[in-house]
Each structure stands twice: as structure tokens, then as C-alpha cells.
């Protein structure tokens, strides 16, 4: 009795897991299918150049892929266009190249705890300095008015 109960339970669980897997797979494949973008040739050209401008050539000193004349840069440009023709998105292509060549290839650093200062620093600095200047001027005026009062 208990044995058959357990076996039914197991069967149920297994089928449920299978169903889950199937649905996940279907969902994934559906997503993959929808991920494929059909670009026009002009779009491929513009987007390819745009991506090549945002990535650093792994070989030359400090040049982006687009400007670099190194053989590896031409190869990677080819790779970018190939992936665009396969209908990959810009983010996907950049992620793929970052995985292969490391974070250094990205000219626009991704957002993380360690790069937060880079992104928020300027904003905080702007607000900070304006606030500081306002406080300082207010302080200066206060002392000026008290002095004037004393003179009177």
C-alpha cells in the first residue's frame, strides 16, 4: 500500500519535473527564436561599426577595434558581422567577446560595486560642490551681517 503510494508519488514528481523541463526548454527555444533579429544590411553595417567602436583591440596599445589595424582586430570585426548576420543582439555579442577576452575589452565598463564610483562620482561631486558653495556663502553672509551690526 505504502509502496504503491510512494511509487505513484515518484511517478508524479518525475512527470512534473519532465513537464517543467519541457516547458523550460520550450520557453528557452521560443526565446532563442525571438532573439534572432532580422537586420537590414544598413543596420548590420551601422551596428557592427558601433560595436567595433565600443570595444578595445586586445593587441594594440589603446585603440578600438574599428580603428585598429592589427590582424586580431580584423578577425574580431569579422566575428561581429558574422554574429550580426546570425541575428544576435548587440548586448549578446559584447557579452560573448567579453567572456572570451576579459572585461578589459569593454570601453564602457559594466556597472558593479567596484565601478559605482565611476558612474555616480560625477553626480555626487556636482551636488556636493554646489551644496558646499551654498553653505560657505551663507556662512560668509552671516559673519558679514553680524560684523555690520556690531559696527552699528
Amino acid at each position: 500500500m505504502s509502496q504503491s503510494y510512494t511509487s505513484t508519488l515518484i511517478r508524479l514528481l518525475v512527470s512534473f519535473a519532465l513537464l517543467l523541463c519541457l516547458s523550460l526548454f520550450l520557453q528557452a527555444s521560443a526565446q532563442a527564436a525571438s532573439d534572432k533579429i532580422h537586420y537590414t544590411p544598413e543596420q548590420i553595417r551601422d551596428l557592427g561599426f558601433e560595436i567595433a567602436h565600443e570595444l578595445r583591440c586586445p593587441m594594440s596599445v589603446n585603440q578600438n577595434l574599428f580603428d585598429s589595424g592589427a590582424p586580431i582586430a580584423s578577425e574580431l570585426k569579422g566575428q561581429i558581422f558574422l554574429m550580426l548576420e546570425q541575428g544576435e543582439s548587440k548586448a549578446h555579442i559584447i557579452d560573448f567577446l567579453v567572456q572570451r577576452y576579459g572585461e578589459k575589452i569593454r570601453y564602457q565598463p559594466s556597472f558593479s560595486g567596484a565601478t559605482a564610483i565611476l558612474w555616480f562620482g560625477p553626480v555626487f561631486l556636482l551636488i556636493g560642490i554646489i551644496g558646499f558653495a551654498a553653505l560657505l556663502i551663507r556662512e560668509q553672509r552671516k559673519t558679514a551681517t553680524t560684523k555690520a551690526n556690531n559696527h552699528e
Binding site: 551601422d46 596599445v61 589603446n62 576579459g102 564602457q108 560642490i129
Partner: protein, 657 residues
């Protein structure tokens, strides 16, 4: 013989500089007029000897004295005379010498000018300049002597000037930048002199203003020529790369821009004096930091120039001494300097303060982005790159804010203004924003926010300037003439923004494989590759591609001839772009690597309004120059009226009669 003379002159000037950096300060402290009278003599001696020293280096170049290491490494018998002259400042040692000479001459001109009434202040200033000169001279003598010999085995032919520098750009770009840094050194010395004296009057601000303006003009020129040179010479088709070395000269420019507006506040309104002094210190420190960045080789750069880690340490030491000393003095004395701050929230004073803050924040952001990869690595967080996409996304919005303030400030009155004034401004902004939307809709991908920012900025500046001239017309030409320097410079900013926006967003480019007989249509122009020819010039051989260009009506408009140059002396390869330019567009072709027997990788671009970027830069320089000259003229007039009160009264009597 001549190099030894040069070295002796350098040593004499160093000793004089050391003396000069103490004597005026001590004489002022002890109120010893006799000792103080030596300031002029010592300044002259220092300037003459250091100038003689650089002339000795120049002579060594001209007579091909390859026993001098610096000459042997940067010149050869085949090099054209013009480049021999340019080679004097073409690398580390010589550029240091050039820098020091320029500081000495600038300082000497100030000391011997009768414009500056406050002798004590000028004496203190020259003492600080001499201290800086002494520091750099010692640095040169101990770590990078330009006159070091290569005896007994010296090369008979010499080597070569970095081929990439053999361009008209080298004649202008580095000296301009150095002169800008020299100007910042002078303003630094002026700020320190004010702090030592414990006062910074409107009179002092009126001395400082022409110096700041000239420094700014040179820095603008240095940056503009540098970008022009990179555009023409490097064959990448870009005009600004946000490369660390470019940033190193751009950061001081931003601070200098803030400084020159702050000096105006100090001079006319007697306000923000401490801010002005602090900006002087900041600009000089950042220019030294930039030099350190470039010379030490700690950052990776395409323009890496004369880099060597040991020099880096010496420059860092100098930087530490100057900056720590200056900041300590600032902390001790800044409270003595009193400013007025009588202005309401809605006033030109507030707007100019805000604008300066935005400029400083922009410069610190660029600094942060430039140093971030370095800090990241030092803290063992891994490696990363910070490049153009980051800088654009931070810098463009900050520029937009700065531009909004810049357009509004001249239309708001000093001290306070009624809020009625805001209605025309709002109307002008609405008009600028509409123009921005109309332009932004022209981009290929529909509405582009970056184009909107660019177009709105430019039209906002132009509209506010036009409104300003319109509202001033009743006050006569004199009032407008007084403002013409500002009008020209601000107009230049608008022109540069238009050029930059157009090139960055409306460029059409193709990257393709091309060989004889093949053609391509780009932006209505037909480019046909006709032939590949070999060119043999004096210092290089080149593979040149002849590209026939015709416009949309199939009229022949000319040939574009990009080259791949190989230098004879060191086999270095560079790419020289072919550019056909006019006011509305540049056609830009550069040829890259060889792909097959006859085919090359060719890059063709149509760059609308490209040259507007540099025309705008030239206008900014012109505006700054006019302002500097009128500042000097006013000082002269004040001095004349002060020394000859009789003639002044006579004049007024005559006028009355």
C-alpha cells in the same frame, strides 16, 4: 664645445634661479630695498643664460653634432632643417628645457613691464617662478641632461625623429601646449604670491586676467592642433579619442576655462577670490599631473611620448613638493583673503559660479575616468578599460548644463535681476529645443537624444548671443565692442559643437576591400580606385592609392591619395589619410593593410561639417586673445593715468573746453 657651453649656461641659470627664489621673499620680509633691487638683474641673468642654453642645443642640432645623445637620437643628416628645429622640443629632455625657457621669458616680460605697479607682488611672483625653474633645472641636470654626450662611439648619421612627429602638426601642437602649461605656471606663481602677501585685490586680479587668458589661448590651441593633427596624421578618422594623453591636456583646459571666468568675477565684483586662487593651484597641479601621466608611461596610450618610469618618479616628486607646499600655504593664508558676496540668487554671479562648478566637475570626472583603470589595477580588482563611450555619456550631459548656463549668464544682470528676465530666456530655450527636435529627427534611426543635446546647445548659444546683441544695440557700438571677445569666443563654442555633433552623428562610412577598377558610392559621391603607385620621398617610401572622386552629377572633383608610409631610417609604418575638404564636408579615405596582391582594406568616410570643430577652436582662441590684449591695454592706461595725473586732468580740461 657648444654642448658644454649649453650645460654651463644651464648650471648658471639653475644657481641664479635658486638665488632668485629666496632673495625677493627675504628682501620683502626684511623690507630691504637695496636687496630687492637685485630682482630685475637676477631675472635677466636667469633668462639670458637659460635661453643661451637652448640656443646651444639648437646649434648642436643644426650642425649635426651627433656626439650629443639627444641630437643623435632625434635627428639625422637627412632631416629637413624645419624638423631639426622642431626636434629641439620633440622629446623629453628638450621639451623640459623649452618649458623652463618659456617660463623664464614669460616671467622676465612681467618683471620688466612697467604695467604692474605692485612691485612687491611681482617680486614674490618671480621668486615662485624661479623656484619652479630651479626644480625643473635640477630635475634635468640629474635625470635627463639634454647635453649628455655619446663619446667615444657616436653614430655618424644619427638616428631619427619619431616619424609620426614629422609633420607640420609637430611644429605647432607641442609648443602651444607647453606655452599653455607655462601660462598656468605663471598663474600658479601669481596665486602663491597673493597668498604669501595675504591679500588679493582687484588690482591683482586685473594683473592675473591677461595671463590666465593667454594660458587658456595656448591650451585651446594646443588641444585644437593636437586633435587636427591626429585627424590628419593617424589615419583613424577620429578627431578626439579620449585617450589618456589627450585627457592629460584637456583636463587643465577645463580648469583653465573655469579659472578665466572666476578671474572676471574677482576683478569686476571682488568676489570669489579664494576660488580663483584655488583654481590657479588646481590648474597647475593638474597640468603637472598630466605631464607625469604622459612621461611616466604608466598609462597605455597611442600617443605615448618619451615615456620612462624613472622620469615619472622625478616628476611625481616635483609635483608633490609644489602641490603640498602650495596647499599648506593655502590652508594657512586663505582666511586672510576677503571677498565680497553681495549677490542675490538670480544674478550673473550665481550663474558664473555654477558654470565654473560644472566645468570643474567635468574635469574631475575626466580625471577619474583616466585614472580609474590604474587605481583598479593597483587595488587588485582586475583590469578594465574606460574609453570613449563612458566619457561621452558623462561629459556630454555636463557640457549641456554648462552650455545652458553659458547662454543665460550674459543676459542676466550682475548682483541681482528681476525674475521677469526669465521669460525671454524660457522663450529662447523653447525655440532652441524645437530646433533640436527638428534636427534630431533627421538621423537615420529616428529621434536621437545625443543629436538633440548637440543641436539644442548650439542653437541656444546662437539665439542667446543674437538676443544679447539685439538688446545691447540701443547702448551703442562701444558696449558691444567691449563684449566682442566674449561674443566671438562663445560663438566659437557653438560652431565647435555644431561640427562635433554633425561628425559624430551624421557621418557615413564604409570599410571595404578595394583594388584597381573597383568603386563604391558613399553619401552620393562615387569613389573609384584607379591605381596603386609607389612614392619615394626624402624620408619615407609610400604605397599610394589613387582614388578618383566624382559627385552625384558625375562631375569629376579630384583625386584622393591616402598613403601607407614606411620610414627609411627605422622602417616604421604609418598611415596618412587622404582628405578632400571644404566648408560643408570632408571626404576622408585611409588605406589599411594589404588583403591580396592588388587589394587593400580601404576606409571611406563622408564627414559633414568636420572642419567646423577647428574653426570654432580658432574663434575661441581669437576671443581669448582679444580679451587678453584689452586687459593689457587697460593696465597700461591705468598705469599712465596713475603716473601722470597732470596730463589726465589736462585731458579732462581740454574735453570740457
Amino acid at each position: 664645445m657648444i654642448p658644454e657651453l649649453g650645460l654651463i649656461f644651464l648650471i648658471i641659470s639653475t644657481v641664479t634661479a635658486v638665488l632668485l627664489s629666496f632673495i625677493p621673499l627675504y628682501a620683502a620680509y626684511a623690507k630691504n630695498h637695496y636687496l630687492f633691487s637685485y630682482v630685475k638683474t637676477l631675472t635677466a641673468l636667469m633668462t639670458v643664460t637659460i635661453t643661451a642654453s637652448i640656443l646651444c642645443l639648437l646649434i648642436s642640432f643644426l650642425v649635426n653634432d651627433f656626439s650629443v645623445a639627444y641630437v643623435a637620437n632625434h635627428s639625422n643628416t637627412q632631416l629637413a632643417t624645419l624638423y631639426k628645429v622642431a626636434a629641439v622640443w620633440g622629446s623629453h629632455e628638450g621639451s623640459m628645457l623649452f618649458w623652463v625657457v618659456a617660463i623664464a621669458i614669460w616671467g622676465c616680460m612681467i618683471v620688466f613691464s612697467s604695467r604692474y605697479q605692485d612691485q612687491l607682488y611681482v617680486g614674490r611672483m618671480i621668486a615662485i617662478l624661479a623656484f619652479v625653474i630651479a626644480g625643473f633645472n635640477l630635475f634635468m641636470l640629474f635625470t635627463s641632461n639634454p647635453f649628455a654626450r655619446l663619446l667615444p662611439n657616436f653614430p655618424i648619421e644619427g638616428r631619427d625623429l619619431n616619424p609620426i612627429l614629422q609633420d607640420i602638426g609637430l611644429i605647432f601642437h607641442p609648443p602651444m601646449l607647453f606655452l599653455g602649461y607655462v601660462g598656468l605656471t605663471v598663474t600658479f606663481a601669481a596665486a602663491i604670491a597673493a597668498l604669501i602677501g595675504g591679500k588679493f585685490t582687484q588690482q591683482h586680479a586685473s594683473y592675473l586676467r591677461p595671463w590666465v587668458l593667454m594660458a587658456w589661448v595656448f591650451l585651446t590651441g594646443g588641444n585644437a592642433f593636437g586633435s587636427w593633427w591626429a585627424y590628419n596624421e593617424l589615419g583613424w578618422g577620429g578627431w578626439w579619442f579620449w585617450d589618456p594623453v589627450e585627457n592629460a591636456s584637456f583636463i587643465p583646459w577645463l580648469v583653465a576655462t573655469a579659472l578665466l571666468h572666476s578671474v572676471v568675477l574677482s576683478q569686476h565684483r571682488s568676489s570669489f577670490k579664494v576660488t580663483t586662487l584655488l583654481l590657479c593651484l588646481l590648474a597647475f597641479s593638474l597640468s603637472l599631473l598630466g605631464t607625469f601621466l604622459v612621461r611616466s608611461g604608466i598609462v597605455q596610450s597611442v600617443h605615448a611620448f618619451a615615456s620612462d618610469p624613472t622620469r615619472g618618479m622625478s616628476i611625481l616628486t616635483l609635483l608633490g613638493v609644489f602641490v603640498c607646499g602650495a596647499l599648506t600655504l593655502f590652508a594657512l593664508k586663505a582666511n586672510l583673503i576677503k571677498s565680497q558676496s553681495e549677490f542675490k540668487l538670480l544674478s550673473r554671479d550665481t550663474l558664473m559660479l555654477l558654470g565654473n562648478i560644472v566645468l570643474v566637475v567635468a574635469s574631475i570626472s575626466v580625471l577619474l575616468g583616466t585614472f580609474y583603470p590604474l587605481l583598479f589595477e593597483l587595488l587588485n580588482l582586475g583590469t578594465l578599460s574606460v574609453g570613449a563611450p563612458y566619457f561621452n555619456s558623462i561629459f556630454v550631459p555636463l557640457t549641456f548644463v554648462a552650455v545652458l548656463i553659458m547662454g543665460a549668464a550674459p543676459l542676466i544682470k550682475w548682483q541681482q535681476d528681476s525674475s521677469n528676465r526669465l521669460y525671454p530666456l524660457a522663450a529662447l530655450f523653447a525655440a532652441a529645443a524645437v530646433i533640436g527636435v527638428l534636427v534630431a529627427l533627421q538621423t537615420r534611426g529616428g529621434f536621437n537624444p545625443w543629436v538633440w543635446i548637440g543641436a539644442t546647445s548650439a542653437s541656444w548659444i546662437l539665439l542667446t548671443l543674437a538676443y544679447l546683441v539685439f538688446s545691447l544695440r540701443s547702448q551703442g557700438k562701444k558696449v558691444i565692442a567691449k563684449k566682442c571677445a566674449m561674443l566671438i569666443a562663445h560663438f566659437g563654442v557653438a560652431i565647435s559643437i555644431i561640427g562635433a555633433t554633425a561628425v559624430s552623428n551624421f557621418e557615413t562610412q564604409e570599410l571595404l576591400r578595394m583594388g584597381p577598377g573597383q568603386g563604391k558610392v558613399v553619401a552620393g559621391y562615387t569613389f573609384v580606385y584607379e591605381a596603386t603607385v609607389d612614392v619615394d620621398a626624402k624620408s619615407y617610401t609610400a604605397i599610394q592609392s589613387n582614388i578618383h572622386v566624382s559627385d552625384s552629377d558625375e562631375n569629376f572633383i579630384g583625386y584622393i591619395t591616402p598613403q601607407r608610409q614606411t620610414f627609411k631610417t627605422n622602417a616604421m609604418e604609418v598611415s596618412k589619410a587622404g582628405i578632400m575638404r571644404n566648408l560643408v564636408r570632408d571626404l576622408y579615405v585611409s588605406s589599411g593593410q594589404q588583403l591580396s596582391d592588388t587589394e587593400y582594406l580601404v576606409r571611406i568616410s563622408h564627414k559633414p561639417l568636420a572642419c567646423w570643430i577647428w574653426i570654432g577652436g580658432l574663434m575661441m582662441m581669437l576671443g581669448g586673445f582679444i580679451a587678453a590684449m584689452s586687459g593689457l591695454y587697460n593696465l597700461r592706461r591705468q598705469q599712465l593715468t596713475a603716473t601722470k595725473p597732470l596730463t589726465a586732468t589736462q585731458l579732462t580740461v581740454e574735453e570740457l573746453a
